[in-house]
Each structure stands twice: as C-alpha cells, then as structure tokens.
Symmetry: C2
DNA sequence: CGGATCCTTGAATAGTTTCAACAACAGTGG
DNA sequence: CCACTGTTGTTGAAACTATTCAAGGATCCG
C-alpha cells in the first residue's frame, strides 16, 4: 500500500457552525478534522494556520526543533530519513488529509518536504497535543491513521529487505494503479507518476539508473507504455506486473 | 513437535482493586496497563487470559482471522511479513510490556511467533477495542507506543534501503548494546544476542551466510569477541562500530 | 542560445547471494 | 555407548544483481 490515507468514520457535519475556512477545506472529509463536530472543530481552528509551500520546499528538517505539525490540505509531501553521509530513503509519502509531523518528540528525526505546490493547515505541536487530549475522537482517528501508517511501513520493509529491483518497481506501479489508475482507451490503465526518477529511487531503495533501466525493460516487454518527459504511463499488463511482484 | 502447551489462568475478577494476577504481573509497569488505575484495570483483567507459549510457536498466522491481541508479559516475539514464495522479513520484535496484534483489521497480514518461551496476556480483539474506547488514557498510551513503533519502522527502512551489510550489522549490535549491554571486565560491553543467525538475517534483510561472514570479520578485526555456540558476545570496539554505522 | 536538470544507456566494478561442503552439537534410538 | 539425524553456524568459490562511473540526449527556462 502506498498511502497512509484512511477513510472512515465521517461524522456528519452541521453547516453553519464550523469556521468558514474549515467548511470550505478540501481535506475536511478525510483528515483528523472529520472526527470533530462543527463545535469541536473550532478548537483546532483556533490554533491552526494555513500555509502554502511551493514545490521542493522543506517543511521541517531532521535535527531541528520539532515545533510544528500539520494536516495536508492539498498537494503532496515526502518524509525522508538520511544517513550521516547523505544517503536518503523516503520513508513515507503524504497526501491530502494526512497528518504531518512527529508527535511527542522534542527534535525532529525526519525531514519533511513538498513534492509539488502544497497547502497545509499547521498547528504548534504543543497546542495540538493539548487539543488531542481534550478530544478523544480525534485521538482515536489519529491512532487509526498511525496504525495504518505502521502497516504501510511494514509492508515496505518487506519490499526493501526482500524484493529485487524489478519486484519493487512492479509493486510501486501496482500501488499507483490502485491509487490513481484510470481506464485507458486501449484496455490499459493510465497512472500518474507523481515523482521524479530520483525520488522513485529514494522511495524504493535503489539508484536512479536502476529505476530507469527497469522501467525501460518493462516498456520493451510491452507491459508499460510511456513517452519521454511524461510523468505518467499506461499499464498494459497489470497481470504480468502482479506476476513479477509475486513470482511462483 | 511438542503438543501445544497452552495454559489458561482463569483467576476470577475482583472488582474495586487490582486483581492479584495483575498486581503480580511483571509487565504491569511498562505495558498499556500502566495507564490504568487499580479500578480501571479490572476491565482489562475481565477480558484477559494468561497464555504461555513455548519457543518457536506461532501466536497468529498471516492470513488467519485476526481475533486476538495481547500484551507480552515475559519472553520475546517476532513479527514477520513474507512474500508469496516464502522470503521472510522480520518487521518487528516484541519485548515484555509491548502490545501484540493488528487492531481494526479483520484478517491478520503478519505472522507473530515466539523466539523463546513466552507468557502473554491475551484479549479477544473486539473486546479489547471496546475497552480501548472506554479508557482514553489507555488509548493515549497505545498511540504513543504505535508512534514509537512507526519511528522504529522508519529507521529500519533507512537501514534496509540504504545501508550495506556491515553497516546493518553494526547498527544492530549497537541497538543491542543500548538494550541489553552490561559492562564486561575487560572494558568491553557484554550483550545478549537473543536470536539465531537466521533470524538476524531475516531482521536485517540479508542471508545467513552474509551475517555469519560479517560477524567473523568483526571478530577478526578485534571489534567483537564471541565463542562458538554462544548466543551473545562482547563488544570491544563500540566506537569503531559507530564509525562503521556512520562513515565519513 | 546556454545552462541546468532530468533521464537514458553502456561498461566496469563491487557487494551480496547462491551453491556446496563441513564442523560442532543436541537429541534419538538401537 | 555409539551411530544417526537434524539443526546451527562457518567458510570457500562461482554467479549474479545492482551500483558506480561515464557519456550523451532531451527538455525547460532564463
């Protein structure tokens, strides 16, 4: 699975009571806020501030003081861990509605940065943690999300520890099919690849060159179709991808 | 194989004060139960059953119905994910006080099994989830643990995706120093290696042979000392291990 | 147009796995 | 008691996979 997003428990809202910004928020339906009634939500609204970041910007550096957390309103972010000598591993991707930040930690251990222009609803971490205490439904929602993220992390550990390059690429593409797949005219599935080759490599624990070579091979064998400079592709052989991911 | 040695403690609940079983529980101090007062804890006690498992026993198979969760009272377990063709990756280790199980999932995706003789306090998952709802302090404790497990998983993703064999071994040994290290006479640190070479390999995403070779090399270079058949070793060069883990 | 970034491809290299053999040890049963 | 078997760990050699190093093409934007 590619995403931490979890759709559940959509509390019906009563129009007219929630602050205007929250009412109009695109992420409201599947963010932590979904757990809050219109009355409750003003507690979060009171401490939250909207912030727009351009693509490629860092929200928080590993090692810095961990003062802020946030909800993704629109856009995408990556969470990266790195070795001292600069090797990077993307340990998570964040989509609208996802929670951003490491709670209960004085210093950040991970770097969070935007993959495209992104809107966030940010909160001071301390204030957010206090709000969490007062709203068990929100805490429950966060628990479920965290459990989902943990499940995700564990399935990626299997990929990083035990799958070869071709299998990792196949798994990644199949995740994208699930998340962004749209039927294409020729019976294939059109998917968006929202990140660069370099970021794919950082996500999959490979090098840029290996990613490029594997994609070229899939193209040559007719499983995949994509044009140069195209951030997306058409999956023509979904079944064959599954066969690669799970060899006999 | 031995027949399933399964011991059930059916101590009746004593309302009002902590049940005797819980009072005497070795894990009480650092498990979820630590969040509960003596009165509260009887709610958990009411649904909990003690269970002893011998080493090498499976608590729950991936794919099976996910009906039970537990707290580790004594012993150790491993959580493994596997590919369809049988490659295994240990995605977590569990120690006394740790929570066992995947909440809010109908079917288990991971296999949990004992690494040594282990005592658990098991709960029916549904009943546990209900109890969780009634006890926000317990839920908060579980959230913190889950966040910690996620942080752990992410640092292991970095290791699996970006570190070579020697670095993974060094990191693993340093973790053990932190967790089980005892000063040894000669200025070194004595650590227990609680798992077999094969399990180390499954944990680190390597093969048995590579683990064995790397350990032999560390021994040859005087960083490590261990005898054949010894499930433990003495770290003589902790600083040199750190230098391996974080090369310039 | 020039420079920067991203992607692709080739050749050589290095690191890990695979395959194979063997030693040490525990438990089993004759 | 001793062979027999299965498990665990070690070591060597060969094979393979992914990385590293290197070069060139494509695209975008000033």
């Amino acid at each position: 699975m590619l995403t931490d997003a979890l759709l559940l428990d959509r509390t019906p809202t009563v129009p007219g009571c929630a602050p205007a910004r929250c009412q109009a928020c695109k992420a409201r339906g599947n963010s932590l806020c979904a757990a809050m009634g219109d009355g409750e939500i003003s507690a979060l609204h009171a401490i939250g501030r909207r912030r727009s970041l351009p693509a490629g910007q860092v929200f928080n550096w590993a090692g810095d003081q961990n003062n802020h957390c946030a909800t993704v309103v629109e856009g995408m972010l990556k969470v990266t861990a790195s070795t001292e000598d600069g090797r990077e591993q993307i340990v998570g991707l964040l989509f609208p509605g996802d929670f951003v930040g490491e709670l209960f930690e004085e210093d950040a251990t991970l770097t969070v940065s935007t993959l495209c222009d992104t809107d966030l609803c940010t909160y001071p971490r301390a204030a957010f943690e206090r709000t969490l205490e007062d709203h068990p439904r929100m805490e429950r929602m966060l628990l479920r999300r965290t459990l989902a993220a943990l499940g995700d992390a564990r399935s990626r550990m299997l990929a990083l520890g035990r799958r070869n390059a071709k299998e990792r690429i196949a798994g990644f593409l199949l995740d994208l099919v699930e998340r962004t797949g749209q039927p294409a005219g020729n019976g294939g599935v059109r998917i968006a690849i929202p990140i660069s080759r370099g970021e794919m490599a950082d996500y999959l624990g490979l090098t840029i060159e290996t990613v490029s070579r594997q994609l070229s091979q899939l193209k040559a064998s007719g499983i995949l179709a994509f044009a140069k400079g195209d951030r997306g592709c058409t999956v023509l052989g979904e079944e064959r991808l599954r066969a690669i991911l799970n060899p006999a």
